[in-house]
């Protein structure tokens, strides 16, 4: 019995690995080529500045906000949903964190407040999507308005500026040039990397991850197979909210203030990162590695445009175009 089982495994492994890796590599090819093109174009335009260490650090820290948000978004999109509220929730979480600091709490508590705010928004999103069976597009579009309005209301339409020293470790955490030189980039970047690896393992190698993919691939099949669809979906939106909350804390650390008007339209970049990374907006497909490459590509684009003096509005157009092209490629791949 044991010997038979063992040969069974070995017999399958090569074919298993080959098909598996071919599919994964094919999915990663597009974002990787995109990244190479972006880096190539800007290196050609601004050879000195773009490849400098300083610019590299800027790109790295800019990747953190989009990257953390995109990890959660990746789960949501793979599960067949979407979260349009993420930009607003990032702003709300930043404001909540700033208010906590202003009230005299430690930076650690402020980060927890920000994270908690994000999770709360995510739970509401998930609860409405599953409980009332409203399409996620509508629910999170509503939350986009609600969270933004709430942030402005709480901050009284101003920035909340806690005392500079109250930021404490949070400031160093997101500083482009870390105190510890051997870190090379901000500690937040390393944390993002760790979080991404962890999230990747969760999505690919845990029962929870398989269930998320199953829900996105065919929700009725998942239900039939006893997957706790409601619980899993709520958890996925909460996870996305957690990412938004942490991204809000990072934004707070970088700006030093809680700005209710920050991260407007950031959901576009975050969704773009996930879609560029090979996720399908119809659910069931997507990966963290691709998402990270996508996030890195977008912040390279951002930094490059700044260096080359290209207007922000042009960037928006480019990102919008990239989303359309990425979804189109997804559609073509599906048909082919």
């Amino acid at each position: 019995m044991t010997s038979a089982a063992t040969t069974g495994i070995e017999g399958s492994e090569s074919g298993l690995d080959r098909e598996h890796w071919v599919r994964r590599l094919a999915r990663l090819a597009a974002p990787f080529i995109g990244l190479v093109i972006v880096v190539g174009v800007f290196t050609a335009m601004e050879p000195e500045a773009f490849l400098s260490i300083r610019n590299g650090r800027t790109i790295a820290i800019q990747t953190v906000v989009v990257g953390i948000g995109a990890i959660g978004m990746c789960f949501v999109i793979v599960s067949g949903g979407i979260d349009l509220s993420i930009g607003s929730v990032i702003a709300l979480a930043g404001v909540a964190g700033a208010m906590a600091l202003d009230a005299g709490t430690s930076p650690t508590v402020a980060v927890l407040v920000a994270a908690g705010t994000g999770v709360a928004c995510g739970l509401v999103n998930g609860g409405l999507v599953t409980g009332l069976r409203i399409p996620p597009f509508i629910v999170t579009l509503g939350m986009l308005g609600i969270a933004r309005g709430l942030a402005k209301l709480l901050a009284d339409n101003q920035r909340i500026a806690p005392p500079a020293e109250s930021l404490g470790w949070l400031e160093g955490f997101v500083d482009k040039t870390p105190d510890l030189a051997w870190l090379l980039v901000a500690p937040a970047v390393w944390c993002l990397l760790l979080a991404a690896i962890l999230a990747g393992l969760v999505l690919r190698r845990t029962a929870f991850g398989v269930q998320v993919v199953a829900i996105g691939s065919s929700e009725s099949t998942a239900r039939l197979c006893g997957v706790p669809v409601v619980r899993t979906k709520i958890l996925v939106y909460a996870l996305c909210g957690l990412g938004a909350g942490l991204a809000g804390a990072v934004t707070l650390g970088r700006l030093g203030v809680g700005d209710p008007t920050t991260a407007v339209g950031l959901e576009l970049s975050i969704i773009a990162a996930v879609v560029i990374g090979g996720a399908s907006l119809s659910g069931g497909e997507g990966g963290i590695l691709g998402t990270m490459i996508g996030a890195f590509m977008l912040s390279s684009l951002d930094a490059g445009c700044n260096l080359a003096g290209i207007d922000n509005s042009v960037q928006d157009i480019i990102i919008g175009g990239i989303i359309v092209v990425a979804v189109m490629i997804d559609g073509l791949r599906r048909r082919g």
Partner: protein
């Protein structure tokens, strides 16, 4: 069948037809002869070459070798349009109608070109002539009641099929090829279609009738040809062949019988339903299913068969009644996972929409309902996934069932085996199977029958809902009939006949017991 027909040259004759695509041999010497006024059944498993042969006949593909003749003349159509003009028309499995056009317009699309030359299609259509043609051909089909001015989109699938056949008639077809014409029809509509086919035959048309359903072929065909692996492995008169003989030729090996021998005594009661009522269906279901037996659930489409199984599985709510598993009640609010853990396994009739996640892999689909054993501590172990998948793939002899293959690329039969294997992986002791052999080829059907028999002999209790009565009669120990949501008594299958079941399905259980012994 008269001797004269056999003596005369066949209307359609194909000899030694070969066709390969790259290295794949699709047709490897096919012979087919169809006489005038004959319904000729073309049968074979999926991939046997039926579709390719029909493509060659209609000019979509060109044969590498072989001869074709229609009405004694060499037949080399350049494409489907040319074929239709020459008198050979196809009625497709996927209906090829323009749904926004009217019945008359669709039928006119097939008609012989009128006068007007190349600019004809820019001239105004002769609406009256079109309507007249439509009426004429529909009446010839015995369905003159279809309004020629109706848009095809508003017709039922059965009526659309008639329009498509009507189009073939309008083109003066002498040979009509029907590819699985009843696959999208309910039983009643299928019966009417078979009636139409007989009419056409009596009109002198030659009909090539492609179907998986033996009992249908039995009812309509005069002669048969079996294809296997791109070759003609036999042909003859329908009256002179047994079903088993056809199936043996189709799958290329001997069968003791299509259905396994019936099992002996059943064991303990595994599933007990008392007065189970769903939100709208079922209205009342009372049934006992014992370990080691297969109980059939017959009934018309919409009678509540599926709804009953879904309610037991927890997919649809029940409003009253009691469900017991091994003597212990399952609470009305018990969720699907709890019911699965207690040993209930449900197979959906909608394999593509619900039963399987077609874009996921074989392994994921197989293991999804019970990830615990392959993901100790929640972490998926790839070696365990591979081992578990290999085990079930081997046990159910699923071909091309490598674990990482996307399941949507497998054949229907192999997909269904994975869907059933999932229930075994989750260790279900009571299997609720809704149309377990729907849309799979005959070879796979036989394998599924064998498998279900094995599972019953292992002591599982199995409920099979299905609309195909010969299958239920052959496979099940007892059969209960659902009529308008009310489940009748389960009777020993040996005491039932197709007509007794049908009578009960149509009229309810209080009528059908002339001499039928009650068993429950």
């Amino acid at each position: 069948m008269t001797d004269a027909q056999d003596a005369a040259a066949p209307r359609l004759e194909m000899r030694g037809v070969r066709k390969h695509f790259g290295g794949v041999v699709a047709l490897d010497g096919v012979d087919l002869a169809v006489g005038a006024g004959e319904v000729h059944a073309l049968v074979g498993e999926n991939g046997a070459g039926k579709s390719t042969l029909m493509k060659v006949l209609s000019g979509v593909e060109r044969a590498d070798a072989g001869e074709m003749q229609v009405e004694g003349r060499v037949w080399r159509p350049s494409g489907p349009v040319d074929a239709r003009r020459g008198g050979v028309a196809m009625v497709h499995q996927e209906l090829a109608l323009a749904s926004h056009l009217t019945v008359a317009e669709n039928i006119a699309l097939g008609a012989e070109p009128g006068r007007g030359g190349p600019l004809r299609r820019f001239l105004p259509l002769d609406a009256r002539a079109m309507r007249a043609t439509a009426r004429r051909v529909l009446e010839r089909l015995g369905h003159g009641g279809i309004d020629p001015d109706r848009r095809v989109a508003t017709l039922t699938p059965a009526a659309r099929q008639l329009v498509e056949i009507g189009r073939a008639l309008a083109a003066e077809a002498r040979v009509v090829v029907m590819d699985e014409p009843t696959s999208s029809l309910g039983r009643h509509d299928a019966d009417r279609l078979l009636e139409v086919v007989r009419r056409l035959r009596d009109d002198g048309l030659s009909i090539v009738y492609i179907s998986h359903f033996l009992e249908e072929i039995r009812r309509v065909a005069d002669r048969w040809t079996v294809l296997r692996d791109g070759r003609t492995v036999g042909s003859g008169a329908m009256a002179e062949v047994e079903d088993a003989g056809l199936v043996e030729r189709m799958i290329g090996r001997s069968l003791d019988a299509v259905f396994p021998p019936r099992r002996g005594d059943a064991g303990e009661v595994a599933l007990r339903l008392s007065g189970v009522r769903g939100r709208s269906l079922p209205a009342e279901a009372t049934l006992e299913v014992r370990r080691g037996e297969i109980v059939g659930l017959a009934g018309l489409v919409g009678s509540g068969r599926s709804e009953m199984l879904r309610a037991i599985a927890g997919l649809d709510p029940t409003t009253s009644g009691r469900i017991e598993l091994d003597g212990v009640e399952i609470g009305r609010r018990a969720g699907i996972p709890e019911r699965m853990a207690r040993g209930l396994g449900f197979l959906s009739e909608d394999r593509k929409g619900e039963g399987l996640a077609l874009r996921m892999t074989v392994a994921e689909n197989l293991l999804l309902s019970r990830l615990g054993p392959v993901a100790p501590g929640g972490i998926v172990s790839r070696s365990r996934v591979a081992a578990a998948t290999e085990r079930w793939v081997a046990r159910l002899s699923v071909r091309s069932g490598t674990p990482e293959r996307v399941i949507g690329t497998l054949s229907g039969g192999n997909q269904q085996k994975i869907a059933i294997a999932r229930l075994l992986h989750q260790d279900a002791t009571v299997l609720l199977l809704d149309e377990p052999t729907r849309g799979i080829d005959i070879g796979s059907k036989v394998e599924v029958y064998r498998l279900l028999d094995e599972l019953a002999r292992e002591g599982r209790a199995i409920v099979v809902a299905g609309g195909h009565l010969p299958e239920l009669l052959g496979l099940c120990d007892r059969i209960a009939v659902m009529h308008r949501g009310v489940l009748g008594p389960a009777r020993a299958a040996a005491t039932c006949t197709e007509s007794s079941l049908l009578a009960e399905a149509v009229m309810g259980s209080d009528i059908g017991d002339d001499g039928v012994q009650e068993v429950a």
